[in-house]
Amino acid sequence: MNFENINDLHKDVLREIGNIGAGNAATSLSAILNKKVNMDVPEISVLPFNKVVDIMGGADNYVAGCFLEISGEAPMSLLFVIPKESINLFITVLLGLPPMEDNQELDEMSISALKEITNILAGSYLTALNGFTQIVFDTSVPAFAYDMAGAILGNALYLLGNVSDSALVIKSLFKEEDKEVDSHLFLLPEPGTLEAIFEKLGVSV
């Protein structure tokens, strides 16, 4: 199914799954970081590739990206992105690690923390999705890059590129008390994956 054909009902279903996934993620993060972490209701949108990069702050904006591939009955990939402006907030507030100096490469500690967060996020969403659909998901180890948003996105979108010109984006926002940390979670389903999910849910495509 083309993402262009996704209707409001489909979006509601994805948002509900996203909500539960975000709830799971917030709970896991709170437990691991030992502080209260909240996540907003995710925004679901379908965007052409060129617009996806705009919500990341433009193609030349530096971002930290963690990418993993999910295989099984409903294959997809997942990209978790934190814009440059939010990286320090993320590292210091959420992880309690020292801030990154300007333009410095991220240190190993922050990178493995970000990878771990990506694992947790993926696990939370996939657990929610599994609860609804009974589909089993296998995830790869996350890979990390800190570079231009366009460069990271281009690499992450290649599987989707063969079948689509747009991507399904779930935008998530972390909050710790009054501090908001902007981040984006991109779930990039492969062809047939959305049909498989909607079919299990009894939603017509």
Binding site: F49, N50, V53, G58, A59, D60, Y62, G65, F67, E69, N103, E105, S140, V141, A143, F144, A145, D147, M148, A149, G150, A151, I152, L153, G154, N155, A156, L157, Y158, L159, G161, N162, V163, S164, D165, P191
Partner: protein
Amino acid sequence: MEDIKVGMADLAATIAPQNLVTIGLGSCVGICLYDKATKVGGLAHIMLPDSTQGRTMQNKAKYADTAIEVLLEEMTKLGAQKRRITAKIAGGAQMFNFSGNNNSMKIGERNVIAVKEELKRQGISLLAEDTGENFGRTIKFDTSDGSLGIKTGNRGEKTI
């Protein structure tokens, strides 16, 4: 004159003094074609190596093989002659380093190979390239002399 910005899976041709820019090439490849005599330049920002693997063919700028063909047509319309056209390319990095030997992630390398094959097939000589590695590139193609400026985050700048 304002530069033309070429987005992902897009292409454009123009004539000096207007220059062509593409921002944030990762595994994608920026293909810059140039006819020195008429100062007609073209830039394609391709994502994927092979249009026959794709299920969507609406966007020919997305694939190495089809993008070069369309770009040549666009440049010919502006007065360029194919026999004089030369090429420079940049990009084709591997942004994510997986610990396992994940073949599917070597898309950058596959893109570069596909671009070179298509250039050869079209009889266009490749004058210079800055490809591979693991970082993003922003490129500016100067149509006054066909030089290609490459900027990176912390890997410096160069002109090829």
